[in-house]
């Protein structure tokens, strides 16, 4: 009996101590972003499934965090190498004196939007004046501001309420008419649609061409981390290329890596189809920085109050890694994806 107790106790202690043990030898790149591994940013999952990060000698350490965490502070104090930021967050950080550079555009079309109930009483941005609009997170306020500004209104013309990311809260709020619209993203709509809540978007066209979820880093670390960063972005771009050429393989990889997103088939598929085009660059070079778009979106952000000052984009857009990120044999990547699909 005594022996049994000792064994149980030792096992419990060993069990409890295990998480602190790590055997990582690769260069670790820490990325702070809102979601854990997910279809939402599939190039990461694809890059890992095909071993591209490993080939580059990189281990990706994801720091998925609530948006209440100050992302920029994490790259400034070195706890994260890369932070996923929206354009207004980047500009505001630069205006606040943060020494950061945007080095890669994960999405080149805004996944954000303003959604209303399909067939309901609200059919345009004008209809939202005087109503309560739900925000999925505090980050979505800037997008709503910009959308209202474009249509000749201001954020003061509506009441806003942060609903959070919880699906039931969002669904009930829009379905029951507690809010006239929700300012969120394609990731949020997918679950609603899969659960039979039809929605329409009233997002102004002008807002759709906008960088989103861009990766920024500490400007002082650009050279020091060059090799690892180039490898990281090359692996990410390879994942993106698989998305563009072999979506079936991507779907299979996602089903294996994040089964929790596929338990409800319609929701999984809806999310995947929504995010697939979002993650594929429209520029010639994958992940390239669109200086003209960054310049054109700033006056709008300024007039809506989302940013305090316009910033010269040459001071923070840095495409130093982009060539290396695109330097790979596309045919080889396509063959590897096809072989993976065949084998799995």
């Amino acid at each position: 009996m005594k022996m049994f107790k000792v064994t149980m106790l030792s096992t419990a202690v060993a069990f409890a101590a295990l998480p602190s043990v790590s055997f990582a030898q690769d260069t670790v790149i820490s990325v702070i972003k809102p979601t854990p591994r997910s279809a939402v940013f599939f190039p990461l999952v694809v890059g890992e499934a095909l071993g591209y990060f490993e080939d580059e000698g990189i281990t990706v350490n994801l720091l998925p965090s609530d948006t209440s965490i100050p992302y920029v502070a994490f790259i400034q104090n070195g706890q994260a190498d890369l932070a996923m930021l929206d354009p207004n967050e980047t500009i505001n950080a630069i205006n606040a004196g943060a020494n950061i550079n945007t080095v890669y555009e994960v999405m080149q079309n805004a996944p954000e939007g303003i959604a209303v109930l399909a067939g309901g009483e609200y059919t345009s941005m004008d209809d939202l004046v005087g109503t309560t609009v739900g925000l999925v997170s505090d980050r979505d306020r800037a997008f709503l501001q910009a959308a209202l500004d474009i249509t000749g209104h201001s954020i003061d013309d509506v009441q806003t309420v942060v609903l959070g990311e919880s699906g039931p809260t969002l669904a009930a709020a829009i379905r029951d008419g507690n809010v006239s619209a929700i300012s969120g993203s394609v990731f949020d709509w997918a679950a609603l649609v899969a659960n039979g809540i039809e929605i329409d978007t009233v997002t102004p066209e002008e807002l759709l061409a906008s960088p989103a979820n861009t990766l920024a880093m500490n400007a002082d670390m650009i050279e020091e981390k060059r090799e690892a960063m180039e490898g990281f972005f090359r692996a990410w771009s390879k994942g993106m290329h698989v998305g563009a050429t072999n979506p079936d393989a991507v779907e299979a990889m996602l089903r294996a890596a994040v089964p929790e997103e596929w338990e409800v088939e319609a929701a999984g598929m809806g999310l995947f189809q929504g995010v697939l085009p979002m993650n594929i660059s429209t520029t010639e070079r994958m992940g390239d920085l669109q200086a003209d778009v960054w310049t054109s979106v700033q006056p709008r952000m300024l007039s809506s109050g989302a940013i305090k000052n316009v910033v010269d984009v040459s001071t923070f857009l840095n495409d130093t890694y982009i060539d290396a990120a695109n330097d790979f044999d596309k045919a080889q990547v396509e063959a590897a994806a096809a072989a993976w699909l065949e084998a799995n």
Binding site: P19, S65, N195, E260
Partner: protein, 286 residues
């Protein structure tokens, strides 16, 4: 006489067992009835599926997350290990500091206001600040859990130490008992049941602390899995995760009850006899 005693003991045992079985059957009956009503309510459309998924779907989700996809194990392991480590560390700090403050009046005078202020601070609200200060990872998660579960052991240890029976303390002193003897023979036996009550509260609080930490740092753990499921409106799996936490909480409670019975055995009926017969056995068997 001995035969009569043995017979009545057997009768009492049988009666107790029968009562316990009836009690369990009653609870199972209530649970099944409620579950059936829930299922019926969902199927008839009386309950909003956004908030109340069908119990049959929840059972299916249990199968999915535990066996078919088996994706819950990794998160479960992460949450449970965090809870255990955080609870042990938080308790060590709480009991240690509680004892120190209890035994030393000078330290008590200086520390007390700070502890009161800290206790009045909503600890969950400082969680994002802790993560920003300590960085992402296990350390900040543990700090949140420690902060959440520190107070119950601290307060209970302090109260156990300072509320020693004065008359018995006088008696010990009049018998010229040393400080160590007073601690071992009087203070600890008096304080341990109170400390154990604090430990029970601390362990359940540790589970809540772990969840809060996982809601903010979404890398792993049951909390982060619940977020994924609710975001995708997969409420059946979210409920499966929530019920998993309920089961863990229940097991924690029962485990602590057992530990309490074992450590503070003199407090419970039959505890002294159990220990005495155990010691007798040890003395007989060399």
């Amino acid at each position: 006489m001995a035969v009569q005693d043995a017979t009545s003991e057997v009768l009492v045992d049988t009666l107790e067992r029968s009562l316990r079985n009836r009690r369990i059957a009653k609870h199972v009956g209530i649970f099944l009835t409620l579950t059936l009503l829930w299922e019926l309510g969902s199927r008839m459309g009386w309950l909003d599926p956004l908030f109340y998924p069908r119990p049959s779907n929840i059972i299916r989700s249990f199968w999915l997350i535990y066996f078919q996809n088996a994706n819950v194990w990794f998160h479960l392991y992460s949450t449970i290990s965090l809870v255990i480590i955080g609870w042990v560390l938080g308790s060590m700090l709480g009991i240690g500091l509680g004892a120190l403050v209890g035994f030393n009046t000078v330290i008590r005078r200086f520390l007390k206001p700070y502890v009161i202020v800290l206790e009045a601070t909503p600890r969950i609200a400082v969680a994002p600040l802790l993560i920003a200060a300590l960085g992402f990872g296990v350390n900040s998660k543990l700090a949140i859990i420690m902060l959440v579960c520190f107070f119950a052991p601290f307060i209970n240890t302090l109260s156990g130490v300072i509320n020693v029976n004065e008359e018995r303390l006088e008696l010990f002193r009049s018998m010229r008992a040393s400080k160590t003897q007073i601690l071992r023979k009087l203070v600890l036996p008096d304080a341990i049941p109170v400390i154990m009550a604090g430990e029970r509260l601390a362990l359940t609080a540790a589970l809540s602390g772990a969840l809060v930490a996982e809601f903010i740092q979404r890398d792993k753990g049951i909390g982060s899995l619940i977020l994924v499921y609710t975001r995708n409106l997969n409420m059946a799996s979210a409920f499966a995760c929530i019920f998993t936490l309920t089961i863990i909480g229940f097991l924690i409670f029962k485990g602590m009850e057992k530990l309490d019975h074992y450590i503070a055995y003199w407090k419970y009926e039959g505890g002294r006899e159990r220990m005495s017969s155990k010691r007798k056995r040890t003395m007989v068997e060399p």
